[in-house]
Symmetry: C2
Amino acid sequence: MNKLRVNKGFAMERFSVLCIVILITGCQAAGKCGYESCNPVKDGMINVHLVPHTHDDVGWLKTVDQYYYGDKNHIQNAGVQYILDSVIQQLFADKNKRFIYVEVAFFARWWRQQHDSMRHAVKGLVNQGRLEFILGGWSMDDEATTHYNAIIDEHSLGLEFLRQNFGDCGRPRVAWQIDPFGHSREQASLFAHMGYDGLFFGRVDYQDKFNRAITKSMEMVWQGSPNNLGPSSDLFSGVLYHGYNPPPGFCWDTLCTDDPIMDDEDMEGYNADQKTQDFLNYTKYQSMAYATDHLMMTMGSDFNYQNAHMWFKNMDKLISLVNAQQKKGSKVNLLYSTPSCYLYQLNRANKTWPTKSDDFFPYAHLPHAYWSGFYTSRPTLKGYVRQTNNFLQVCKQLDALAKLEDSDNSTLNIQVLKEAMGVAQHHDAVSGTEKQAVAYDYAMRLSRGNYECQKVVNDAYKKLFPKQKEVPPNQMFCNLLNISMCQATENNKQFTMTVYNPLGRAVSHWVRLPVIGKSYVITDPNGKSVPSQVLPISNVTKNIPERKGSLAENELVFQVALPSLGFSTFFIKMSQQSIKKQRSVVGQIDKADISIKNQHLSLMFDGNTGMLKSMKNLNSGASIPLQQTFQYYIGHPGNSSVKRFQASGAYVFRPLTSASLDFQPTLKKKTLYVQGQLVQEIWQQFSPWVSQVVRLYDQAKYAELEWTVGPIPVNDGKGKEVITKYSTGLQTSGVFYTDANGREILKRVRNHRATWQLKTSEPVAANYYPINSRVYINDNKTQFTVMTDRSQGGSSLQDGNIEVMLHRRLLYDDNLGVGEALNETGADGKGLIARGKHYLFLDTVQNSGALHREMGLRLYMAPSLSFTNSQMKQQEWSQKFYSNWSGLKSPLPDNVHMLTLEQWGGPTIRPSATQPFLVRFEHIYEKGENSALSKPVKFLAKDLFVPFSIKTMEELTLGANLPLADLKRLQWKTKDYTTDSEAVRRRIQAADNFTVILNPMEIRTFQVTLT
Amino acid sequence: MNKLRVNKGFAMERFSVLCIVILITGCQAAGKCGYESCNPVKDGMINVHLVPHTHDDVGWLKTVDQYYYGDKNHIQNAGVQYILDSVIQQLFADKNKRFIYVEVAFFARWWRQQHDSMRHAVKGLVNQGRLEFILGGWSMDDEATTHYNAIIDEHSLGLEFLRQNFGDCGRPRVAWQIDPFGHSREQASLFAHMGYDGLFFGRVDYQDKFNRAITKSMEMVWQGSPNNLGPSSDLFSGVLYHGYNPPPGFCWDTLCTDDPIMDDEDMEGYNADQKTQDFLNYTKYQSMAYATDHLMMTMGSDFNYQNAHMWFKNMDKLISLVNAQQKKGSKVNLLYSTPSCYLYQLNRANKTWPTKSDDFFPYAHLPHAYWSGFYTSRPTLKGYVRQTNNFLQVCKQLDALAKLEDSDNSTLNIQVLKEAMGVAQHHDAVSGTEKQAVAYDYAMRLSRGNYECQKVVNDAYKKLFPKQKEVPPNQMFCNLLNISMCQATENNKQFTMTVYNPLGRAVSHWVRLPVIGKSYVITDPNGKSVPSQVLPISNVTKNIPERKGSLAENELVFQVALPSLGFSTFFIKMSQQSIKKQRSVVGQIDKADISIKNQHLSLMFDGNTGMLKSMKNLNSGASIPLQQTFQYYIGHPGNSSVKRFQASGAYVFRPLTSASLDFQPTLKKKTLYVQGQLVQEIWQQFSPWVSQVVRLYDQAKYAELEWTVGPIPVNDGKGKEVITKYSTGLQTSGVFYTDANGREILKRVRNHRATWQLKTSEPVAANYYPINSRVYINDNKTQFTVMTDRSQGGSSLQDGNIEVMLHRRLLYDDNLGVGEALNETGADGKGLIARGKHYLFLDTVQNSGALHREMGLRLYMAPSLSFTNSQMKQQEWSQKFYSNWSGLKSPLPDNVHMLTLEQWGGPTIRPSATQPFLVRFEHIYEKGENSALSKPVKFLAKDLFVPFSIKTMEELTLGANLPLADLKRLQWKTKDYTTDSEAVRRRIQAADNFTVILNPMEIRTFQVTLT
């Protein structure tokens, strides 16, 4: 670190002349930002807003740090440090120039390396609107495979960085999702609540885009929550004309090969007149697709502006040449602009805009190129991201509840995981569309972040546990429980387990611990014995290569009861004598049908095939035939041998034929059953590389299906995309439902788009939609719901069916840039094994809402386990430590979720006296989902928490970067109404009123200070 | 042009902030430049001089203008405008940074586009030595295929640009030939006389380099003219360690893919410690090859620094990191430096340096890669460049003699040709190693320049011709006389021909004009009839596709007598009646040997084969058997199918076998003779695509051999390299002689290098040397001399033989960057036909010097023809116009050549009152070449010229950018002596002394003013 400081000092001296510039520029900092700082337009002309921009992927072909530095340029010539260095010098030199910067993950890296004088000068640029932050998330998140909790967190992370360093002039006015592969309505809704005035994006289905272009409806008011939040979720949204690229022939980056403007008549190659004419022609074409006299042209592309001067020098000439034509009667006016300045002019135009209330999935850019493969690509990374979000919430909550301080380093530690998660939401991260080496980097960052947060949890427990001054033993964490592997439980005959419940209500939770023994005694925090069952670990699990070294032979299964927002400690000890009640009976299915059932459900399996046959809800009596098969599509290898266009790949799902292929139809000899006191299981082996365990826990209202897929064999030269298909026989008329980012549900209709007449020759891929957490079908009476533990793609290709894609292994690059086939391998070099869970519900439509809403929460906010090898008994432990502790004085209402609880103020600022906290409360139901729970709800927040009371409470925008009272969004006219710029603000409560009212699907964000 | 001004104004406004910087920097302009401005070194340490530089080819894969703009970046990512823009901003920002710029062809283009404020600021940088011009020629000329006249001109052109715009701080101290493919001793000599203190280059034979590295003799005093000019031609010269590239792993250009310095410990990929260690290791290795504690590292390469910031940011870090090691005892010190600052430290080191007195040809970088192919590559371009140099001299002389003024636009017009010639001397221009499209661009520039100079010649004639006020008719020029095509002579039955003689003595000259008629009457300026002969145009010529449209059937041949530095006008009219004396007799050789002879020579041809058999000097009686064959080598296709390494190509000559292959041995049926009063010819057809005309003109002391080669057939899939081989039977003991750049003669010994033991497995290519104008062999008594009309490669592979390569057509790229096979085609798309001339002398060794020296001059300073279609008879014309005019009052001594006569002061400055002229006089003999003519010579210059007298006369350096009195070169110790920094200066004459003394091979440069 010393070294770095030496560097900076050295740089300071050498940049003495530069510093003079900076100071001069800095002195002008008292300018205006926002819409007032825009360059003037010429009314009565077509104003072409040239928007200099760079699109900097937070990892893709290279890792985020390689991109930052410009390392590994043989893979891709891209170095963000140079982009920022370079652009800022250009902005210093000319007050008319504009630049937008988007990805805070990169900007923060750069900023941390800058000297104060440079920071000061850059603030000057921001204060004058010359450098403008757009979007301002930590990354430009994917919209199909991300969870809303992570989306909100990563935007808050970026926006808070900007707020702390730049104040209000650093607050982005416009959202900028120019590259993600389709667009989610939920994202639009979240953006509206973050206070953005508009959204622009580059990728829209080619049929949709054509239709919009010829009807001048490229720009619209997008209704983000038409059924729930209404106008407050309206977001003005625009489709860019040429992706996020410049007009063809006008790319002047070091990465481009377009001819520069050659305007010296004394030299060869003079092209200034031709370029002028070409640009005017292009302007004419573009203007035909848009409704106003304003056009936006994105002058940049991926990692452009490493040598910003090239771009600006030629744009200077272009502006000069084209505007000079005005003297000859031209009505085209060029200016340096930004998306917000463009948006502001659209707003000024006072037009009536079309509306849209569905989403923009799936995205296809060509007839055979539906980007619905990435909904499932890299299922293990997707699972890891979801799981890590869970732990980040735990970490932030415990940090807040324990009121950890600077001396604990917790802020910095949490920041590591926040940033890793921020990076992982990028549209080439959790999406699975990065190179393999980059996927490893994302996972490593998450792993490191987890490790840092484990320290925080440990530190929090050290404050929360002790009744006196006794220091509790260190907590150990088990990261590999999904493959039944855990050092802490395998290597100790006696250990404690502390389970933290991050939900605002008490929950009971099934725990499965890998153990070596056959019998265990479990004591709960109050000294009571906990019933348990011991099951053998299956051969499928034992054969997972990553599990090498594990000693565990069995799993110890039991249910724990946990307090709201609190923890309980359990005491587990191997027993010398066999405990009969714990035993499991394992047998093979033999001809006769077999069923497993508990108090609520029964599942029937065919005795000959071992396959699921029917499902019955024992309460309602609803029963359906239910077949579940595992099948696969063969990934299309591409028609052309050169470019393999269009192969199925990381992005694109293109099955070779529309029919998915079955495995061996009979599982008979390979199907086992496991019976015991607490859980009934059916172990199915569909093929040597596809297996499943179906579980019914005691009292559970769901059936748990743990699928294990891989290594997918490819020695036949064929890539495969594995699905599971549920066939229910329900009459569904082509309709099915999927969630958007884990929140609102969208109705899907097979072979149908809401706003245009779909024509497709990809009947499978064109009907795939992202499933973030659930997909269901119903016949208006009975609903069959599948919940997932991660984002997956899926559809209902026949009435009554649901299919979900679980895993993909492909042999050809889909030629969209990644340059690698999606061919993941595991520790043994063979195809990667993926494992995950589906949870099935069968109930009435009326009951189903509460089931999946509650389950949704419990899946992504699951309890967090940690262990000690303490030999203390419950009694001894309980004398020294709290073993059953809740952070809430009373649980939250059943329809309310505390989405966020964290100390707030960024990584470096935490004045210990008045440290604010950030709290978000969320109504988790949509209107009409449940007769009781879908109603508005009211509760008092002031004395909610045990460790502290709330002193002040100020409502913020969803992104937590602006008091809601200060928000004023632009208004837009539509055919039916004018959007309500006050809608979000209107609900603000006085700061001394601690009553929180939540309407269905509402999220409210508060900054609170404590007494 | 208006458009351009608008641009500049616009830029001015927008760069307002920048201008402040510039002014601040500009204010510091009163600094020091030259050696005093160098960054400090640390004595006692290894000082590593980091030399940031860009190597900007003045055309290669793209044309010079494409390179300037950055056009056609798909071919090569290179835009010099951005390099200069970018570097200069970096220099503004940090006073420690240094940059050198080399190629004035580019810098001038940039400079012309800059606003005054930028120019002012850049002057500030130059005045402080932060931006330093190195070399400063218009281009970095090739050394093997260039003529000294053109070398001097192109350097003068660049240096004058720098002098006018930057004064003494713009004067380069160091010559920088980092890329040319071998190095000429004559070039070193010229550089010494231009006043350079040192020379660095990057390409030296790999065996030579290895030998130098292990003996620490990479740097030396190169004796440029050991036999003639002595110490005044000594030049300190250094071989760079890694070409002109940075150390491997330390290239930080946008074109490189080395990892940047990653010094943020909080990010992935930290490599600062490793990079530091790698650099220190490299320094250790490099230091083993050099004699002092100073090392130069060239931090840059081809077209580097388009984004200068990338380079400098990483170098800043490197300097900081490596120098920080000094605290831990490291003795390595890094600094930003320049070649001159490095040279200055070498000089300070006060070492004794080795010497070298031969040259650095041929260059091989690997055992099978001898770069001796380019000596001949693109023979037609090489011929055109030589011919154009001739016309540029004519143009400049006539401009001076006529004292054309600004209003004539002559300066600007001449500048076009000067710049075209400057560009054409580049080491990928006349060398023939550029892409085909770029070769066309060079030719087009020469052609345009010729056209502009034709205007100047016309303007000059309009001033010089009239006796009264009569305006003379426009002169027309014939550019295609080499293929017997001329609009002016073909289309007119009567016309005038004016012939200008650019030499300082009267000459007689043979003229051949394509005509339609069979008889012509020719009248000389004095009204006397001129004898002539009419010959049919051969079928070979008629079939040249470029000749399409020509009506000429015959050639009219006659000799003209011309005054010194003057012109004569001749009057030519078709005659209705046949003139017997003009007739030529054409016949076929039939069995009997046939000879052609004149007063001095006789050549015998074999009656059976038609081939040359012997040559005899009728004066001395010397006679030799003389066989001449045309043969070819098959170009090696390369051993590897992927990279074709190492194929014979544009650079490399690598014959498939060492034996050259013969054509059909008998020419009998195809050999014709032409007899007449003035010229005897033998027309030989060696193959369908190789023919030759052997001529003996009346009174000529040489035999003229006009060869025509092409289209070289390649439909057998084999590239061919065509040579002509002269076999004399002389006992030559492996020795032969070639000229260097048309001046001093170097002795060559087969399979031998002067300074190391040659080992080679390329016995042909390794013995090839550049022939600029002559090659000869002798047995100490009889000398056989071949003179060429352009640069060619050649050798003497067997005693008594001389072979010269005439033309090459190859099918594989030689993998050295050009990316194309050297496969030239003509107007019909077939292989290009090349035509040229050899001139043979046979005489005693004593007599031969005068023959080839005189002939050398006459070939490259040939008379220039122009025509009018005037119907005036001689008498009428002579009443109105001077028809016989000399610019000299008396001819120059026989051993003196007026190398330069031109108006001087650059393209824009010509104060008409005191317009200086530039005059160079040259002693054209080496010591000992001729008993009389090799002596020093003295003459009075004052009243030399007819149109004006000299008022003042100040001697300048050879490059004409410094009064010789002001020159002080660095002194160097060698084993035998200390170089004489005063050597050049010592000969200065007082300005009022107009006596010019010339020692053998001396060139003296004077700026003169006129009375």
